[in-house]
Symmetry: C2
């Protein structure tokens, strides 16, 4: 037998595979934890040790069959996830051992992939998790969704849903920086207080205990110029009923609908005609060529204390499935991140 002469087993690589397509909220059966080898990097590839994984509502959509802006994750594949890691081996001229990178590392402890698919980050700019939060796709979504799609003008009224969440909290703060009046919609008194007291929004509406449409009428007698929507459902309908003429509705997400087999559309969409308004979506990766501009602005705002990046960090790779569910239980505040290994 030849076992004795074999090389020592390659570094173990624990991975969460998509075991089945969930119906509704993912369950214990959605993922399988396996252990594989770390593939050796080929020419122009690198090996990255995962330090942090970004937990995003979009991941729920990636598990669904059917056409979307990106291929669904195949059953049996490593679950797709954005992550931040450190290069442990490189055959790419632009990346060296020790470099910090972000990219689609997947729900695994090590990723071997082309260096061109990674984004080298500057760890001096902000603490590492912030590079997955206000300086990551989350911040990019808030920045380009609000500014490029929503196009708020100084003095206008901007409403943001999931205002205590990862994208909403950044979008609302950017709207404040741009001189808008900002109303946040969030679930529960703690989140609402966070939005006004910590993030500096002008007001907050607790959709769990208040009538959103009525509160908007009180808070925005001149109605809503820009609505940055992360939730869909009844909240979207309530804001549609309160649009100002020429309003812009930014479709950033629809977390209230992602786990639903029968998603509901906004019954009040004819407000788009009544109010000469538009509703528009975007895919953040379309803005990759302009990410530098956003990183420059956001890191400057963080540095001078005008923008706060808020992360909730769950420790331990094995907690990936449970941590992911926190996105949908209404308890999470700010950017949800899994710490896979200590930096």
């Amino acid at each position: 037998v030849s076992e004795a002469t074999q090389a020592p087993p390659a570094q173990a690589n624990r991975q969460f595979l998509l075991a089945e397509r969930p119906q509704g909220v993912p369950t214990a059966d959605t993922f399988t934890l396996t252990s594989g080898a770390v593939p050796e990097p080929r020419e122009s590839e690198v090996v990255v040790k995962t330090l942090y994984l970004s937990l995003d509502p979009a991941m729920r959509m990636w598990m669904n069959e059917g056409r979307s802006y990106i291929e669904p994750v195949a059953v049996g594949e490593v679950m797709r996830a954005i992550g931040l890691g450190q290069v442990t081996g490189s055959r790419h001229p632009g990346l060296a051992e020790g470099d910090y990178v972000t990219g689609l590392l997947g729900a695994q402890q090590f990723a071997t992939l082309p260096g061109d698919q990674l984004n080298k980050i500057d760890p001096e700019l902000a603490p590492l998790p912030v590079h997955l939060s206000a300086l990551g796709m989350t911040g990019m979504s808030a920045y380009f969704g609000l500014l490029d799609v929503g196009q708020p003008n100084e003095g206008e009224t901007v409403v943001v849903s999931a205002a205590a969440g990862a994208v909403g909290s950044v979008a609302g703060q950017i709207a404040k920086i741009k001189g808008c009046r900002v109303i946040g919609i969030a679930g529960g008194p703690h989140k609402c207080r966070f939005v006004t007291d910590e993030l500096g929004f002008d007001a907050a509406i607790d959709y769990k205990s208040e009538n959103v449409a009525e509160r908007l009428q009180e808070l925005c007698p001149e109605r809503v110029d820009v609505y940055f929507d992360n939730v869909g459902g009844e909240v979207l309908d309530a804001v549609l009923a309160n649009l100002a003429g020429g309003a812009r509705v930014v479709i950033s997400g629809a977390i209230s609908q992602y786990n639903s087999a029968q998603p509901k559309g906004p019954a009040n969409y004819m407000a788009l005609a009544v109010d000469r308004a538009r509703m528009q979506g975007f895919i953040v990766t379309d803005y990759v060529p302009r990410f530098g501009e956003a990183v420059r602005d956001i890191s400057a705002w963080i540095a001078d204390g005008r923008l706060r990046s808020d992360e909730q960090i769950v420790e331990g790779f094995d907690n990936f499935p449970a941590a992911l569910l926190k996105l949908f239980d209404g308890q999470n505040r700010g950017k949800l991140i899994l710490e896979v290994a200590k930096a």
Copy 2:
């Protein structure tokens, strides 16, 4: 007694009043037919004899309580309606007896109203009913909705619903004139043949007998760049599932929902994000300052045979309620007009 010395009774003016707000489709109880006097014109007012009334889906919305782009018709008031008539008396310097005008004449045989609220038309430009059709609000909606909101480019694929209807038939023809590939969606084989054979659309989908989403996939493998929607409901969802990147969805109307107490929104609206698309409404009267431009273009297209204005004329003022219902029974083709009096 003084009756004998009174002036002869003023010209009788038969009027349809809104008797009650309908739930769902209007019924025999929705309107009351009464007879009143024709008020004498005051300074700057004119008296207009109604010749034609425009029958429009928007009239159903005007009967509803609640906020819209225009005040609802009050119960007991003359039903609001756009009409074309002839001036029979004028105290307005810009209008003389015999002039033809369009405006909000209301569902009555005579209207006395400020001359400034009327639009003098040139009867030489086209037959009178065409001034309520392709040269009226109908044509203006098609022209500005398609060109200003939809912004089609030459070679793009444009889909129009209610394609045999008043607005849709004009919108689709304008899209053809602008060099687009045009697919119409209509109900039944007669309308579909009309759309392709008479209006020159490239193809038609019969939503009553065909699966709209599947047919769109076959007919538009490169998907839909502009969707001009007059119907809402399932057809809107089917087109949303087939949008091209950067698509524009023009919300012109939602006739499938107007009589519903529980209107449904488009469940597939998240396609706006997936396809980086926008959905936008408009109110045609916002374009009043630019109507001249549209009338110039459309009358030229009619004159050189490139655009066909299609009217279905119902005779007799008393048929107003029954004629209005034809908008909602799916039988109507082209612009529905009530002839109130012979010109």
